[in-house]
Symmetry: C2
Subunit: 267 residues, 2 copies
């Protein structure tokens, strides 16, 4: 029943501000639970905690230790609830170990005024059918990345040379994205989408896991149904760390989310 | 004794994880205590709480209610301390009111490897003496912005048309910055620097206070002594909110901090 993503981020209230979650093995990539999925689980608990403020507007999170599939506990605390927005902290633990800890502003994005004045440029991507589907990834890779079965991800060939061992060195990856089972995007899904692409370090020729230290997402609008376009870019690799900026554009050509993370370069 | 900024961010330990601070009226601008100064106060408490991890690497903060000059309490909690980094939450209150709540990763920036590979472009600014000093601001404005006396801020005339009522509409402000009393920059000062410029909404012709909802700063390197160059830009004004990206470059031409905030447009 329902969609994989919704089942994956479901939480059960166990007490004041307290929730249980089951981290689904389907959202694992390369041995770790995907950071965007974890953020959406946290986001799902915060949403349950508040009435009339369904949407993450900002969500900052620190990844403290690697999560594993299985049971997890979430504690939330409403720092302040005003008329339009609420500030909430949320932390996810497994056993004695904190996995991630976050800080969010929630509100009602549908209630915001309609003005849009943007100089950000919409990513230009070839049509979906001319992009590289991750369904074509080698079976060996897909076996350790069940996440790929849940995402329909189509990489822009212009910045996917790394797939064939020829990274551009630019530090940019673009793709079309939707859930494989047709679930339409919403603000919680955007928390996942901002971390749905492979690390942009792949395009720098640096393969391997790039653990996120911190990620902040701003959800700027409710996406319309349809494909999302994702653009990940880095501009500053220094001291073994790199920032990764992500933009998410919806099918109506609106910039619906922006995020930045600081991650460690693969060794 | 010492410098204004160091006195302004001084904290006194009162118990486990607990600190007292005195929010200095000298860091007020337009009736509110400056957000970058408040972040640096929080950063100063976190620094005291940790041994061998003196530097903010990431700091995300939500501004929950407007702070006033005077006494404040800070509570910190070390979520996890590893070999290289520690994750810490920190919250500043006055009376019963939380003013700001944050989430930080601290470490030792001096211990990071030396690699730098950046495609970010250094801001080009006219020489300091050809830029507009905020010391020339009208006396009436300076009276409500004592912060200006503590900063030596020189605006790039190319994006300071708003000073004369002719905003460019581009959404960009650049400036040279140093502390007026000659205090050299360090990582804590960078937490202040990322919010030291007027809101970039001024360059869009939208004057007035633009309250920050959320700000995340990444400190990427220890700055060398000398002038800093700041660049604030926005690309997406929508739903009454705008993001403001800040870059801080040091006198050696290194990108030493990046930040993004989400703020409310002035009414």
């Amino acid at each position: 029943m329902g969609h994989e993503f919704d089942r994956g981020i479901e939480v059960t209230r166990t007490g004041p501000g307290a929730y249980d979650a089951q981290l689904d093995p389907g959202w694992v990539v390369g041995g770790g639970v995907n950071g965007g999925y974890l953020l959406a689980v946290l986001g799902s608990a915060v949403r349950r905690e508040l009435a009339g403020k369904p949407d993450p507007v900002t969500f900052a999170v620190n990844y403290v230790s690697p999560a594993r599939p299985g049971p997890a506990r979430i504690t939330t605390r409403v720092v302040r609830e005003g008329r339009g927005t609420a500030t909430v902290t949320a932390e996810l633990s497994q056993g004695e170990e904190v996995r991630l800890t976050g800080l969010a502003t929630y509100g009602d994005l549908a209630g915001l005024p309609d003005d849009v004045r943007t100089t950000a440029e919409e990513p230009h991507l070839p049509p979906v059918e001319e992009c590289l589907s991750t369904a074509l990834a080698p079976a060996g890779f897909r076996a350790v990345a069940p996440l790929l079965e849940r995402s329909d991800l189509r990489l822009d060939p212009a910045c996917a040379g790394w797939v064939l061992g020829e990274p551009s060195g630019t530090g940019m990856i673009q793709a079309w994205f939707r859930f494989a089972d047709g679930r339409e995007p919403d603000p919680l899904a955007l928390l996942f989408a901002v971390d749905a692409l492979p690390p942009v370090s792949f395009d720098l020729g640096l393969n391997g896991w790039a653990p996120t230290i911190e990620l902040t997402a701003h959800v700027r609008a409710i996406p319309v149904p349809g494909w999302l376009r994702l653009r990940h870019a880095t501009r500053n690799v220094a001291g073994g760390l790199f920032e990764e900026d992500c933009e998410v554009w919806d099918a109506a050509g609106r910039l619906v989310a922006q995020s930045r993370q600081l991650a460690k370069l693969p060794r």
